[in-house]
Structures are given as structure tokens and as C-alpha cells.
Assembly symmetry: C2
Homo-oligomer: 461 residues x 2
């Protein structure tokens, strides 16, 4: 099959079918009405608009959310805005059980007939005088609707499906990938999915895309403003914002890698990842030494909990390295309902007692270093490089004990500190194997940990 045939085939599969469109149309009209009625009961100053991929007609088949935005008066205080916004949502979803989904912005979400519907309050403001983080959305939707041509919508869908396939779609904290809006802008700029994939091969960070030429080619200023960001896509509705701020180095690298392998040998697997089997017991026998930390907690918003788990993982990782342990990788898992897991794979969970401690050159104050080490009974000498060094005993040679120490200290983020202290369990290899027998969820998490997400290099296609 030719590349074009393949893309054509996938395009057809992922474009919403007419009956699907009818159903969505019916649903969003119904809930727009409900939201309008709910709002009318509470205020006279509002407007409702449809956002998201449905509004822009870039949604994937069988994967469409309905995002209803309620534009409210910019005169409302944060508190009134929040109360009013949530109340409109509550009344819209009367008879359903909406979920509160807010880390930094209040909104409600309910699932109706298998379709996720959100009611999100936003301020009705002119561009650039944003009062809440979602006020830009109205203008994003306008911008895309006005510019994206019919044939480009298909290209956006291909790109989104590809991004989903290779695990780089979505700006959520857990993925740190490419948002839908970013995908749309990339297609606007590069016109087609294949053009983009080809362009990506020549990307060398920092990559700068300024579609509306808001900086008039002044690359220096852009680099100054968005320093350290490998991919900069200037928001057409706000030149101070990088739409591509969320993709992590890992997401960016994964997308670039997948693009390269796809162009080399196009295949359906990039859009429909093959199921991969992980034999946890076999992986365990091949892996380095594992330290598993798990604690219990109540329901927490993903956007709140996940960054805290990440911070904790990073801090423990740094401490492990500082103490001489060599970290292979770390993994985070949470059901956001009851328990979280953090896994560290180390070269070895124990270290030799002795280690070389670097001191100052004699040109600097050496007395403190020398005395401190001599007082503790350690050897000191001047190295070939002309620096004081010391052969010291490590205080901690057991990674499990070190993690225990850290968990007792102040390095655990405040938001989960109590839960961690009260319920944490820290297991090493043998205990993990033991736990596996009685804890099916642990097996699931380990499967995910050992799964190579970069499947495109694994499959001989």
C-alpha cells in the first residue's frame, strides 16, 4: 500500500461518521439549551459558545468531547465568577452526577450517552486583558474556525491520531504532550501532516514558529523571552505566550523519533499501537535493583496530585544520586483515588562503604576540610590533580534506608506530606516480588513501568 493510500484509509477511519455527527449535534444543542436556561435563572449578562475540537471540526471519530463555555461579565470578582460558573454547571447537569474538575480553574464535567460534556465559565474580555487562564479559548476557537480549510481539518485529525498513537498527545501534566490547538497551529503552518513530519526531521532546538509574524522575524527577542524552551509556537492571539510550552523534552524527542521511523517505513502501527505484552516476572529478573514507595490517599485532582508526585520523585532521585546511587529510571503511577506508587530502578540498591570525597585545592581554605575528615578518622591526601581528597565511609549504603530517611524529612511536598508519612511503605526487590502475589494492581503498575513506550522502534514493520 502506498503512503497516500495508507493516510487516506486512516483519514476515513478517524473522521466522525454522519450518524455520529448527528448524535453530537443533538447532544450539544440539548446541553447548550440546558446551560442557557440555567444561566438565565442566575444572570442576564452571559453568552454561551461551543469550544473544543467539535467547534473547529477537528475531532476524531468516537473520541469527541463537548466543551461548552459560558462567557461571563469581566466585572465579576473571582469569587462571584467561580460561584456563578459552578452553579450554572450544576443546574445544566441536573439529574447527572457531574465531576468537579479544577486545579486552577473551576469547571464541571459529566458523561452523557458516552460523551464527555464540560461546562466551563470564562470571562468575556478583549484580547490581552485576560482575567482567567481559559479566556483565550474563545479567541483560539475563532482563529482556527476562520483559517483552517476543509482539507486541513483532515490533516489535523491525522496528526492528532499519530500523536495519540506515539503517546505525545495532550497537554495534561501526566503526558506533557501536544495540545489540540498546538496540532492545529502546526498544520496551519506546515499545511499537511507529511510536510510537518518532514520539517520535524530538520528541527534543531530552539525551533521558532511565528505564524502571524508578530515579532517580524526578530528571533533574538523571541529567544530572550522564551529562553530555554526548545519549541516556541507564538500564540496568534497572544504574542507573549508559547503554545508549545507544555511538550516536555521527552515528548518532543518521542515525536521527532516517531516521525523519523514513520517516514522511513510508514505503517498503521503509529496510529494504532499494537498491544504489547510485558512479562513482569521476566522483566524483574533482568532489571536493576528496585525500590518501590507506595502510599494511600483520598481522591485528588490529577492536575494537583501528579505534579506533587513528580516533585517528590525528582527530589528523591537527586538525593539518591547525591549519595552515590546510580539511577537507571523512575516511574510514577496513581489511580488518583486511593494509592500512588513511585518506582526507582537502581544499578544497585547497596553501595560500598568507602568512597572518594573531593575537597578543595590548597589555594582555598583547606583547614576545615582536613580537620573535619581527620576528626572522623578518615584518610586525607592530596591527589595527583592537586586537590585534597578524602577516603570516607558513607553514612548510607542502603537505598531503601535512604528513601525512608527522605520520607521522614521536609522534602515531601506539603500537599501529600501527611498521607505519605502516615501510610508509606518502602519495598525493595524481594518484598516487591512477595507483594506481587497479593496485589494485582502492583502487577499492573509494574507492567506499565517495564513497557517500552517507544514501541515504533520495537516492532519490525
Amino acid at each position: 500500500m502506498s503512503l497516500n493510500q495508507l493516510l487516506q484509509e486512516i483519514m476515513e477511519e478517524i473522521t466522525p461518521k454522519p450518524e455520529e455527527r448527528v448524535k453530537l449535534e443533538r447532544l450539544y444543542q440539548a446541553y447548550m439549551d440546558r446551560a442557557r436556561r440555567a444561566a438565565e435563572e442566575l444572570t442576564s449578562d452571559f453568552k454561551i459558545f461551543l469550544g473544543g475540537s467539535l467547534a473547529k471540526d477537528t475531532a476524531l471519530s468516537e473520541d469527541t468531547d463537548i466543551d461548552l463555555f459560558v462567557l461571563l461579565s469581566p466585572d465579576l470578582s473571582k469569587k462571584e465568577f467561580r460561584r456563578l460558573g459552578l452553579e450554572i454547571g450544576e443546574r445544566t447537569f441536573l439529574g447527572h452526577k457531574p465531576i468537579e474538575r479544577y486545579a486552577d480553574h473551576p469547571y464541571l464535567e459529566a458523561t452523557v450517552d458516552g460523551v464527555k460534556i464540560s461546562v466551563v465559565p470564562t470571562y468575556r474580555v478583549e484580547p490581552m486583558i485576560w482575567k482567567s487562564p481559559v479566556d483565550r479559548t474563545f479567541y483560539h476557537v475563532q482563529y482556527i474556525k476562520e483559517r483552517l480549510r476543509e482539507e486541513q481539518k483532515r490533516e489535523v485529525r491525522l496528526l492528532k491520531k499519530f500523536m495519540k498513537g506515539v503517546g505525545t498527545y495532550g497537554a495534561e501534566v501526566r503526558v506533557k504532550g501536544f495540545s489540540g490547538y498546538l496540532c492545529e497551529l502546526l498544520i496551519l503552518h506546515h499545511r499537511t501532516f507529511l510536510n510537518l513530519l518532514q520539517a520535524v526531521q530538520c528541527w534543531s532546538p530552539p525551533v521558532i514558529i511565528d505564524i502571524e509574524d508578530q515579532y517580524r522575524g526578530d528571533v533574538e527577542t523571541i529567544q530572550e523571552i522564551f529562553k530555554g524552551q526548545p519549541l516556541v509556537v507564538i500564540d496568534p492571539v497572544d504574542k507573549g505566550r508559547n503554545v508549545a510550552a507544555s511538550p516536555s523534552a521527552k515528548s518532543l524527542a518521542s515525536f521527532i523519533s516517531a516521525s523519523w521511523w514513520f517516514l522511513r517505513r510508514p505503517s498503521r502501527i503509529f496510529f494504532y499501537p499494537p498491544p504489547t505484552q510485558v512479562d513482569v516476572d521476566e522483566e524483574l529478573s533482568k532489571a536493576g535493583d528496585l525500590i518501590l514507595l507506595t502510599f494511600r490517599h483520598g481522591w485528588m485532582v490529577e492536575d494537583t496530585l501528579y505534579p506533587q508526585l513528580e516533585r517528590m520523585t525528582k527530589k528523591i532521585g537527586v538525593k539518591l544520586k547525591e549519595n552515590g546511587f546510580r539511577l537507571l529510571r523512575a516511574g510514577i503511577y496513581s489511580d488518583f483515588m486511593s494509592a500512588s506508587y513511585i518506582i526507582f530502578e537502581l544499578e544497585s540498591k547497596t553501595l560500598p562503604k568507602r568512597f572518594l570525597h573531593m575537597g578543595p585545592p590548597p589555594f582555598k581554605a583547606e583547614e576545615a576540610f582536613v580537620k573535619k575528615n581527620l576528626n572522623r578518622g578518615f584518610s586525607v591526601w592530596i591527589s595527583e590533580e592537586g586537590r585534597w581528597v578524602s577516603s570516607r565511609d558513607r553514612e548510607i549504603v542502603d537505598a531503601r534506608k535512604l528513601v525512608e530517611e527522605i520520607v521522614k524529612g521536609v522534602m515531601i511536598p506539603k500537599g501529600i506530606r501527611n498521607q505519605v508519612r502516615e501510610t508509606v511503605r518502602i519495598l525493595a526487590d524481594e518484598q516487591i516480588k512477595k507483594d506481587l502475589g497479593v496485589n494485582p494492581r502492583l502487577r499492573e503498575y509494574l507492567e506499565d513501568f517495564f513497557l517500552t513506550k517507544e514501541f515504533w522502534v520495537l516492532v519490525n514493520h
Copy 2:
């Protein structure tokens, strides 16, 4: 006792006594005569001069060599020069058993009445048209004799004794310290021993001393010529030469450190190091893991063998580190007659099987890395930093085996390769302890290895 009293006392102890001077005078006159007669039998074109500390009157009591230089015609070929020089030496030492001491320059040495006498041929050339590495010596001697005042000779002796005490005296390959000539120049420049020690406290590399102002303060040119050399003392008889090229970073650092501690609390111990006891068995129990390499050989010139042992040690050290071992320190010992020892102290002589191998970012060619690792059955993934990494099995997890491999390879310097291959033994901890019982020389070497040469920080004086 005041600092001045202490220095006065030591000065008196280290100045050659009148009877000693008489004996040396008699000896060097006698051997100068013998050398003159020997030379006359072989050529009419020669001149004999006394060099070394005896000529400059900067020798230490009971520690004086007699260096006789035979100036020969610059028209002689290298071969004739060598033959003639050695023949004069042979005839001078008729009845003794002189030792041949040449790595890159031929000369003979004999010990008579407990005094070392050397006969060294040199070319009679004008400055800057040197034909052999010792042709400058004649001018060095003249330079110092003309400039060093009586009271400064005492300061030179103090400095030399101090340097000997703290282990930084001598330009030999084994010490890589300060030569006698360098000590004399440092006193010429700083006038007194104490001045120098104080000046040293403010040294911050690169330190530049141009006594004759041959570069007229052009520091940039000096730094360009002597790039990377921390201490530059321009040779008054050859502006292209750094007299301080031989002190290693370690020697320089040791001297600076010892100066600081001495100024803080002056003591005899800096000039007369206290005997230090090393309990090898105790040190062994405290040390990291040891790998000992030993091989047998015939008599070899120190200046030839030692650099080869150093090269070998360095190469093995680099390989150990490359393979993931953490090196605490290495030691070299040789009797230059029959056997040499190289000791490596490691954090651990074994490593975990697994290790993290860094690959390229996807911006570069990634295919080779990915395929190579997958083909060997290793996991690959994209790290948080956006680079390919791989969790691989180490090929070598045992330091002893690695050293065995290296010794078989081409990394051993040619001059000792055969001896090493044919007689090498590579021992690890338990075997070392076993060998200690039957090999008293090994105990001696290990004592030296564990001895902290920076005794001045150890002694509570």
C-alpha cells in the same frame, strides 16, 4: 621558641660543617684531577667544571653530591660525544664500580667515601644553541654563583630542607618536585625563605616569575608560550624554558599546603618529618577493595621505567573508570632491580550487572544506537531529558578480570610489555592478604601506599 630562633637553629644544623667542607674539597679536587687526566688521554679539547650545589655553596650538610661536568667540543657528533663522555667517566672511576645513569643523557656515577660523584659530559656551546639537555647547566652555575649572596645561601638551604621534609624536593620523575636550581631562583626572587612561604599563600595559578624581566611584563605572551603550566619561572639563561615545569600539580599543592600550615604553627617536623607507623593489617581492613598488579623485570634505569609504570597506571585507571569502577587512588612501587607493583584502591572491585548507557538525542542519528541495543536484548527508551538511553548489561563486572584483559592488550608501554605479559600476577583482596604473609617486600610497599605523605596535617604540633 620563636620562629626566628627555630629557623636559626635549623640553619646551623643543615649548613655543612668545616670538617665536612674539607673532606668534600679534598674529594672533588682529587676526582677533578682524575677526570682531567682521563680526558687528556682522549682529547685535547675539553674543560672540567664543578656544578651542583657544591659549586653554588647551597648544599645541605651530610647530603652533598659532587657533580663534575666535562665540557666537550660542539663539533662532536652525538655518538662521539657519548662514547668520549662515558670513556672519561670510566677512566675517572677506574677501580670503582660506577653505575650507568642515563635515560636521555649519558653519564656515570660512583659512590666514594659515602659521597656520590658524577661525571657528566656536556657540549661547550654559547647560550641558546644547546646541543644536549645539560648544556645549560654551566650557565646556571655561573648565574647563581654571580648573584646569590652569602645570607641567601642559608635561605636556599632552609627551603631545600623544607622541600625535602614535605616531599616536594627533586625534579626526578618519581617526585616531580622542585629542583635545586628552582629553589635558588625562588630565593633570588623572594629573598628569604619566609618571604617565599608568605608569597605562596597568595599564589593563584598561573603564577609567573620572570626574574630577568626577559618578557618585559608581557604576561599574555608568557601565558601563550607556557599554556596550562600553573607555575612559570622563566630561566634567566633561556627565556624559552620554564624552570618550574617539573613540579606536578600534587607537588605544587603539597608545598602550598605545607607552607600554610608551617606559617600557622612553625615546627621542626616540617624539616625533620616524624616517623609514621602504618599498621598494614588495620589499613587493609579499612580500605576499599584492592587490585594489585606485580611483574618481574631486570635492572632498569629509574628515569626510563618509572614513566612507563605511570603511563600503564594511568591507562588502566582510565579503563577502570570507563567501565564504571570508581577509583579511590593508585600507587606505584618499584625497586628498579627485579619487580614493580601497581596498586589500585577501588570503592568496589565488583559492579552491578545493569547500567544506564546514554545514547543520542533523536535530533541525531538514533537508528544505530537503537538497533544495536535492541539486537543485544537490552531495553531502550527516551529519557526525561529527551535522549535515548539503554539499560544494558555490563560486559565486565569484575575489576580483576578487567585488569587481566588490559594487560593482554596493547595498552602496556612497549618497553615493559614483554616482562609484564610473561610474569604479571594480578591479585585481589583475599589473595593480597595471603601474599602478605610470605612476601615482606609487599608489606613494605603497602605501608608506603597507606602512608599519608601530608604528615603536617596529621601531627598535632
